[in-house]
């Protein structure tokens, strides 16, 4: 008899069946199935609190007790002396289980435990957020006594405790099932909360001197109002990117989200299944709204993608879609000011302006990386047909020609490649240009599951320092300064493919041999665009070792955009623009010619707008501050002859646009994302709305050019997609040529190479309007190795200034063990630390570091 968690996401292997009897019915289930799961298969619901299918069994709440008889060695079935917890015991051949339905003992045991659980429970259901969807409430009705015999004094606690700005804990409601602490430990792997004290005083909590009774200065009242979480003994504030999942799996109303607390009743909510828009994982979510207002989002259940977990960003960051700066009507610029206009008027002016701009040199198209697949195909077709240009690029971030070729060669038209399930089973995974926890949260959870589970996946990351995410995956750092990733990849190609390493390759005694095993995976992130030669080297490594390669962008729309051909050299389905046969296939599908010259990329389009080569631009969801040189982008749009903007909310682009056409946010429309696996993730509109999706707006605009985009409705859009996707491109793909390797910069005194990437929670506009979530974001710090810090005369905790000729950012220095020397890391886009905008610099550029304020008392270091 062994205890295992049943894992719905494991791929099916030949299963050994075990036959046993439950409530008089004989059934067969896979060997190792827990009694409680087997009962579910037989349609028998055993009440439970601590049990959760994705967590290891605990046996703590004792609610699921059943009577069990087991055959002894002679085969005589003998009852076990005590009722057994069905959540910890696996079925055995010949076992006879009697649940509450057929056993008076089990029924009384369950009622007894329920009475004990309710005894110290406040029974404040009428004001509790969980009331109406509460497992305790429901199971107390189905499996409890009609009344309680408890007349004594209940345990009480001051309420509530803010575990973080986002998560509140009402301890008196807690039944101590430990689902939340087990989630934090087993799934997320972060020190968020733990059990404290014992007996009836046992409680969940974070490090809180007031609760723990530690000596020292009290930090404030226990039921401190919502605010910043305190640091624990290691100096880290308690925070987690996955903390919202604890609220969802809490079987009572003990854990609540600050944003939803006291704002809704479950029976007033309308639920819609949807897909999260904040990253490229395509997590299944559930949107709950009441009278047209979204009140909360929950994780959906999808065993193959996000199981039952989502990031806090996917859960809590939804207010951006209904913020005050929503554009609700078309806007037309008149005398320098935007004024509301009718759709008819705005579209006519837009069409006329674009026609003129086309004559003035052409129109550049910048659709942005957050489109649905339907929109992406409409944008691609609009650019190629209505505007007759290949000057289209969805990448509003650091990008390169090498990347475009890599995407055309490896990603476009490749269907479902590496899956989340593969990550869990892989012997080894190499991350390059990707911080999984920050940039693809659910991918991190699946990688961690593989690394800490049976597969024992070995995770390697080519990065300047070992992040906390990498550490929690028991990962190994392959240290590399930004821009030098290709060196590691080339070196691995040589060592794992057999052969002599080049003399200048990084040498190390790290055992990377697992990467050569069958099933190994290389995950590359979009940041490699800033590292010349890295994409080509990753491809080379994959070819040399047979490892499978997957590209994980940050934004939800980028994979779909690649499929749709939102790149200057790429048509839908991976067809190269430069290939006449490919063009012919697309032309036939669309019934019109396709321009034959590959176009300009984002940087090229902006430059051409600035110098007047291009006459105008159509811009989608692009934040100028996301571009590597926001100042240049602003200047380019200021200089542009004519700009049409399709936007949800007012932005720097709409400020500069001649025509603004409002489009619908995901919650108000149907659509699909193509997640990084290549899986199509469709969702319906959660809210009724008159807002139009991009494809509909472009369809109508195209009519002014006598072009039928066939994208008036989602159904039409799907048919239109199908005509180019029906058959895969069989011809040659674009070859990947390594970009010219940049000369390693000469680091002068006081200088360092900048490393930077986005944190999951930062100053992105998708998180606007959610103050509680913002409180859990990491504060910006400047990371550097001890030697590098010493070179600047800086110590841990000093405030340092990182500057370029463009500007300066001040942040506390954090000396980071094992970090590559000569490198300073900053978060790319956090509050007070907007690297592209302030410094005009990107990863790999040289920056100057000086000490701004030395901290006199070293003991008061900052968060690390």
């Amino acid at each position: 008899m062994t205890v295992t968690t049943n894992n719905p996401s494991t791929e099916a292997a030949p299963v050994e069946l075990v036959t046993f009897t439950i409530d008089g019915t004989e059934i067969s289930v896979p060997k190792g199935t827990l009694i409680i799961r087997a009962a579910e298969q037989a349609g028998i619901q055993i009440p439970r609190f601590c049990d959760h299918p994705l967590l290891a069994p605990a046996g703590a709440c004792r609610q699921c007790l059943v009577e069990v008889s087991m055959p002894d060695r002679e085969g005589n079935v003998r009852p076990m002396p005590k009722p057994q917890a069905s959540c910890t015991m696996t079925v055995a051949p010949g076992m006879i289980v009697k649940t509450q339905h057929t056993s008076a003992v089990a029924d009384k045991a369950q009622q007894g435990v329920m009475e004990l659980l309710l005894m110290n429970h406040p029974l404040d259901c009428p004001v509790c957020d969980k009331g109406g969807e509460c497992p305790l409430q429901n199971q107390a009705m189905s499996n409890g006594r009609p009344d309680s015999r408890f007349t004594d004094v209940k345990r009480t606690f001051p309420k509530p405790i803010a575990l973080s700005t986002q998560i509140l804990l009402d301890r008196e409601r807690c039944v101590l099932c430990q689902r939340c602490t087990r989630f934090s430990e087993e799934i997320a792997g972060d020190a968020f909360i733990a059990l404290q004290d014992r007996g009836a005083h046992q409680q969940i909590g974070r490090f809180d001197e007031g609760v723990l009774g530690f000596a020292g200065e009290p930090v404030g009242p226990v039921d401190r109002p919502v605010g910043e979480a305190t640091n624990d003994t290691s100096g880290r504030p308690f925070s987690s990117y996955y903390s919202g999942n604890t609220v969802q799996i809490c079987p009572v109303g003990a854990l609540t989200g600050a944003g939803y607390r006291f704002r809704g009743r479950p029976f007033d909510l309308v639920s819609t299944e949807s897909i999260a828009e904040h990253d490229s994982c395509g997590s299944a979510i559930r949107i709950d709204h009441r009278r047209g207002q979204v009140l909360r989002r929950l994780s959906g259940e999808d065993p193959v993608v996000n199981e039952e977990w989502i990031t806090d960003k996917d859960r809590f960051a939804f207010t951006w879609q209904s913020s005050a700066d929503r554009i609700t009507t078309p806007l037309v610029r008149e005398n320098g000011e935007l004024r509301p206009a009718s759709w008819v008027e705005a579209l006519e002016i837009a069409a006329a302006g674009l026609t003129q701009a086309r004559q003035d040199g052409g129109v550049g198209v910048l659709p942005g990386g957050r489109l649905t697949v339907e929109d992406a195909f409409a944008w691609s077709r609009f650019a190629r047909t209505a505007l007759g240009t290949n000057d289209v690029d969805q990448r509003s971030r650091v990008h390169s020609a090498e990347e475009a070729a890599f995407l055309a060669h490896v990603v476009a038209g490749s269907g479902v490649g590496v899956t989340f399930g593969d990550l869990e089973q892989a012997p080894a995974v190499l991350l390059v240009g990707l911080e999984a926890e920050e940039e693809a949260g659910i991918t991190f959870l699946r990688l961690r599951k593989g690394a800490t589970g049976k597969a024992g996946t070995k995770v390697f990351a080519v990065a300047p320092y070992a992040t906390r995410g990498l550490t929690r995956m028991n990962g190994t750092l392959l240290p590399a300064a930004p821009g030098t990733e290709a060196e590691w990849l080339t070196s691995l190609t040589t060592t794992l493919g057999g052969g002599l390493s080049p003399a200048d390759a990084p040498t190390s005694d790290i055992d990377t041999s697992a990467l050569a095993q069958p099933g190994a995976v290389i995950l590359v992130g979009e940041r490699l665009a800033g590292s010349p030669g890295a994409y080509a080297a990753a491809l080379g490594l994959a070819e040399a070792t047979g490892a499978r390669l997957a590209w994980i962008p940050r934004r939800a729309g980028e994979r779909g955009g690649v499929e749709a051909g939102l790149l200057p050299g790429l048509l839908p389905g991976g067809r190269p623009v430069a290939d006449a046969a490919a063009r012919a296939e697309v032309a036939q599908a669309w019934g019109t010619e396709v321009p034959e010259t590959p176009g300009r990329d984002t940087a090229g389009i902006l430059a051409a707008l600035a110098d007047g080569t291009l006459g105008g631009a159509v811009v989608g969801g692009v934040e100028l501050a996301d571009l590597p040189d926001p100042a240049a982008a602003r200047a380019a749009l200021d200089a542009a002859g004519f700009v049409v903007s399709l936007e949800v909310r007012a932005s720097e682009v709409t400020e500069r646009a001649d025509i603004v056409l409002p489009v619908a946010p995901p919650v108000e429309r149907a659509g699909s994302y193509w997640n990084w696996e290549g899986r199509v993730r469709s969702f319906g509109a959660a809210l009724e709305s008159s807002a139009l999706p991009d494809h509909r707006v472009l369809h109508v605009l195209a009519q002014h050019f006598d072009v039928d985009l066939q994208a008036a409705s989602p159904t039409d859009a799907h048919l239109s997609i199908a005509v180019t996707q029906r058959s895969a491109w069989a011809g040659d793909r674009l070859a990947v040529e390594a970009g010219a390797p940049a000369e390693p910069p000469t680091i002068g005194p006081g200088q360092a190479v900048l490393a930077t990437w986005r944190l999951q929670l930062d100053a992105g506009r998708g998180q606007d309007g959610e103050q509680f979530l913002a409180g859990t974001a990491k504060r910006p710090v400047a990371r550097m190795s001890a030697a590098t810090a010493a070179g600047f005369g800086a110590a841990d905790g000093d405030r340092v200034t990182v500057s370029t000729q463009r500007g300066a950012i001040e942040a506390p220095a954090v000396v980071t063990d094992g970090m590559v020397d000569g490198v300073v890391w900053l978060p790319l886009n956090s509050a007070g630390c907007r690297v592209h905008d302030t410094l005009g610099a990107a990863a790999g550029d040289l920056v100057t570091v000086t000490v701004a304020v030395a901290v006199a008392d070293r003991s008061e270091g900052t968060a690390r």
Partner: protein, 447 residues
């Protein structure tokens, strides 16, 4: 029946805790003999001796050692459970205080027998004096070459770590002890896997009580037959019987298993002068109580079990007729409520409730339905809790209501306790209050 001093043999010697005293009395003969014996033969000898776990459950010690999987080259551990915390139980702490080398020699022999190179002694944290004495004794044994590298020239290495707990009854439960030893929160682990398969640091581990391990040297030195010649057919050997309470000469009485309380009381000068026995525990507060009717029950595992209780740790707490059974049981229940680890619902919530009901009854605020409530609550806890702590908490209540129901009823009917608590005290005692107020709400951090 007479006393059979083995473990207690040298307790009355000058500086009995010193290694030299122990050696003069023939100490470490067992280890010397053991190191020349095949480990498997030592395990067999302990099996043959019939030694059963002295920590309370009485599981055959040799059989427990035999459960270890075959060596796989990785470490295997011996962990000695010296977290003696049960109310009434007071045998291991005096043993470690008076003659710690018994334990250390036993640790060395057992470790050698099971193939362990690093043994741990987990001592209850509150007994600082015992912790210090053990540390010194281990140091003495290292210096004399009984521990450390190449013990007595045999080529066998053993390190012993003495670890002090942080003051939790639950850490006497073997898996909670292992978690605590690993630096985790002391709460019982889900079994399987059992410690023999995945114990300390997930390696094969034997967890034994102090007295069990301390009994091993004499078994090796004098033979299994010598040991099994004592005691009864199924409960062989000698054991420490700890008499406390209303007895003329309280203390440790080492005797063969199967001795009766009547015989022990004769040796201890009887119940307190001028009083008579009312009830007693055979093995600590977790074992159902006995009365004078049970004076002739042989104190071995089988006979005590047949009489409706458990031999437990042979902690014989003697209560004379001045004692209010409600008050005594109520204090024990306070203990269990205080020591419940909180992991499982029945024990955590159940003891919290039981404590309030008992306090109510004792204060004269009980209701007629409370006695049935107590019994039903105990029924809902016994066998439903995660580990045996919950079961133990119900024993004194269930057995005392059975035996003294009319006394409980008298508290309810008379709206108060009919006894004078100062009469049962062995010292001048004025009760602070006769009516403890209802339990105040347990606010955060309040204890």
């Amino acid at each position: 029946m007479t006393l059979t001093p083995v473990l207690t043999d040298t307790w009355d010697k000058d500086r009995s805790w010193r290694l030299a005293t122990y050696e003069r009395a023939g100490g470490y003969a067992g280890l010397k003999k053991a190191l020349k014996t095949e480990p498997a033969d030592l395990v067999q000898a302990v099996k043959d001796s019939g030694l059963r776990g002295r920590g309370g459950a009485g599981f055959p010690t040799g059989m427990k050692w035999g459960f270890l999987p075959p060596p796989d080259g990785g470490p295997r551990y011996l962990v000695v459970n010296a977290d003696e915390s049960e109310p009434g139980t007071c045998k291991d702490i005096p043993l470690m205080l008076a003659s710690p080398q018994h334990l250390i020699e036993g640790v060395a022999i057992t470790s050698y027998a099971i193939g362990c190179d690093h043994a741990f002694i987990y001592v209850r944290g509150e007994v600082l004096h015992v912790y210090r004495r053990l540390l010194n004794a281990v140091e003495e044994a290292y210096r004399a070459g009984y521990l450390g590298k190449n013990i007595l020239g045999s080529g066998y290495d053993l390190d012993v770590t003495v670890h002090a707990g942080a003051g939790a009854y639950i850490c006497g439960e073997e898996t909670a002890l292992l978690d605590s030893l690993e630096g985790l929160r002391g709460q019982p682990r889900l079994k399987p896997p059992f410690p023999a398969v995945a114990g300390l640091y997930a390696r094969p581990t034997v967890v034994n009580n102090v007295e069990s391990i301390a009994s091993v040297p004499a078994i090796v030195a004098k033979g299994a037959d010598w040991f099994s010649s004592m005691g009864t057919e199924k409960s062989q050997g000698h054991g420490l019987f700890s008499l406390s309470g209303h007895v003329t000469k309280p203390g440790q009485y080492e005797a063969p298993l199967g001795i009766t309380l009547r015989e022990l009381l004769d040796l201890a000068g009887g119940v307190r002068q001028g009083h008579e026995l009312k009830f007693w525990t055979p093995g600590g507060s977790s074992t159902p109580i006995f009365t004078a009717e049970h004076l002739d029950v042989p104190l071995d595992y089988e006979s005590v079990g047949a009489a409706g209780s458990m031999l437990g740790t042979r902690a014989l707490q003697i209560f004379d007729e001045t004692v209010c059974v409600v008050r005594a049981v109520s204090r024990w229940t306070d203990f269990y409520a205080h020591e419940s680890c909180g992991k499982c619902t029945p024990c955590r919530e159940g003891t919290y409730w039981l404590k309030q009901v008992l306090h109510r009854i004792e204060a004269g605020e009980g209701q007629d339905s409370d006695l049935d409530l107590l019994l039903d609550l105990c029924d809902n806890i016994l066998g439903r809790a995660f580990c045996a702590l919950g079961d133990g908490a119900t024993s004194p209540i269930t057995s005392s209501v059975q035996l003294f129901r009319e006394e409980y009823q008298a508290h309810i009917d008379g709206h108060g306790c009919p006894f004078d608590p100062s009469a049962s005290a062995l010292f001048a005692y004025t009760p602070k209050t006769r009516t403890p107020g209802a339990l105040a709400g347990a606010g955060a951090g309040g204890h």
